[in-house]
Symmetry: D2
Subunit: 145 residues, 4 copies
Amino acid sequence: MTQSATQFIQRMLQTHPQSGQSPFEMSALVECISACFECAQVCTSCADACLGETEHLSHLAHCIRLNSDCADICDTTGRILIRQTQPELSVIRAQVQSCLAACKACGDECKQHAEKMNMKHCELCAESCRRCEQACQALLNGMQA
Amino acid sequence: MTQSATQFIQRMLQTHPQSGQSPFEMSALVECISACFECAQVCTSCADACLGETEHLSHLAHCIRLNSDCADICDTTGRILIRQTQPELSVIRAQVQSCLAACKACGDECKQHAEKMNMKHCELCAESCRRCEQACQALLNGMQA
Amino acid sequence: MTQSATQFIQRMLQTHPQSGQSPFEMSALVECISACFECAQVCTSCADACLGETEHLSHLAHCIRLNSDCADICDTTGRILIRQTQPELSVIRAQVQSCLAACKACGDECKQHAEKMNMKHCELCAESCRRCEQACQALLNGMQA
Amino acid sequence: MTQSATQFIQRMLQTHPQSGQSPFEMSALVECISACFECAQVCTSCADACLGETEHLSHLAHCIRLNSDCADICDTTGRILIRQTQPELSVIRAQVQSCLAACKACGDECKQHAEKMNMKHCELCAESCRRCEQACQALLNGMQA
């Protein structure tokens, strides 16, 4: 229970009968899966926390929109990356690129609210989006090599 | 209840306070949303129907994998496209491109099982994937114009 | 493309190798699956339309919350019901009961906004929630018989 | 990055503007959210690992079915529990009960494959299902008190 999510995902992948055939470098893959699922959770939470900011709600509509899209995209990307059986690289690459775009857009928006309005949930969300954006970029870099 | 899913989605979009500001041509958008949600359902059903093909299961593992990915991607794409409040075009474009890739890969695989093994669920799934692939392409063509 | 969603789901179920073993009455099952997926789409759309109601946003926070929960629950319930391979009745029954509760709560809230604030997206959403609530109740009644 | 998922969820909830009004005991809530999201990931992974067990696939169809349902249910339950704005207790209670049922059914099935066939992914999945089942039960016990 006190292990990190990253370590748990690594253990799951190691038990997979076909994980030895993965086209990905294992540590980059584990980091990307972990970052996707964390970001999906944090964006779901940030959308809801913004919705609870009664006095600032009208300024946060764009943030809620981006959080909602990013949560759905990160969740789907995490599900696709965690699957190891007979992967289709064209699909995985396109979905990771979409995840990168969503995390960049959402992270940029949240960073503004963190800096200008001192919103702590947006600060945590911007951190998580940045981590996921970087993990997606690293995975894509490894695929193109 | 007897209206098509496409007509129902059109009615929802017409009630949206910001739908007049959509960057998309409305009939292409409605068709793409409808095709995404239909394909998500059909792929979920086809993955499960393949799982029930006890005698042919080992030949259908790749199909189940592609169905599962395509179901998740189409569902997320439909959710993102149905949202009209302050859309972020870079995110939408990337996700529609991923949906197009998933529908192409899954449709190609299902078409083979429909033709070679006479699998009726794969035949319906291939049709639905092709419809969604074309709707994604039409929407992307309209965005780039 | 002009067929109803209900008809399409029925065609998919008829191609399933194990659909003859379903513990459900087929027309009640098809109606419930169709209602779940429609309601998931409508609730996603209504949450976003409420978010776009700039002047009334603070009154719609509870509605957005209920729409978001109902969208997630209906989508999951539809996915579980459309699967026919070796169903587990205790799981299905509990998830359909949750869907019924979510549709009742969300439908009641949307009905108020439809009547008091003349919100057309909430009116359509209330209709869809009511249809899904009734379809879940009918399915549960059939299970207990 | 090395913090546990549980700690990260706790930090997010602490930044929520309405978290002080939660009807739940905070440590039980955090544990349940963390367990739901972990179980959703592990079940997605176990379904796919079972699909990759080429020689044993026909014995694992029921397990894949239960994994798929449990993954969807746990993901939805985690999303609903992480939201703090104006919660609807009837909906939350019903969804947590469904999650408990899904984790019990899936955990029991995976435990059998872990013991009889020495499947390591099923062993990890059974652990994660059991943790989530207990966390759901603890949360429900606290609600009824």
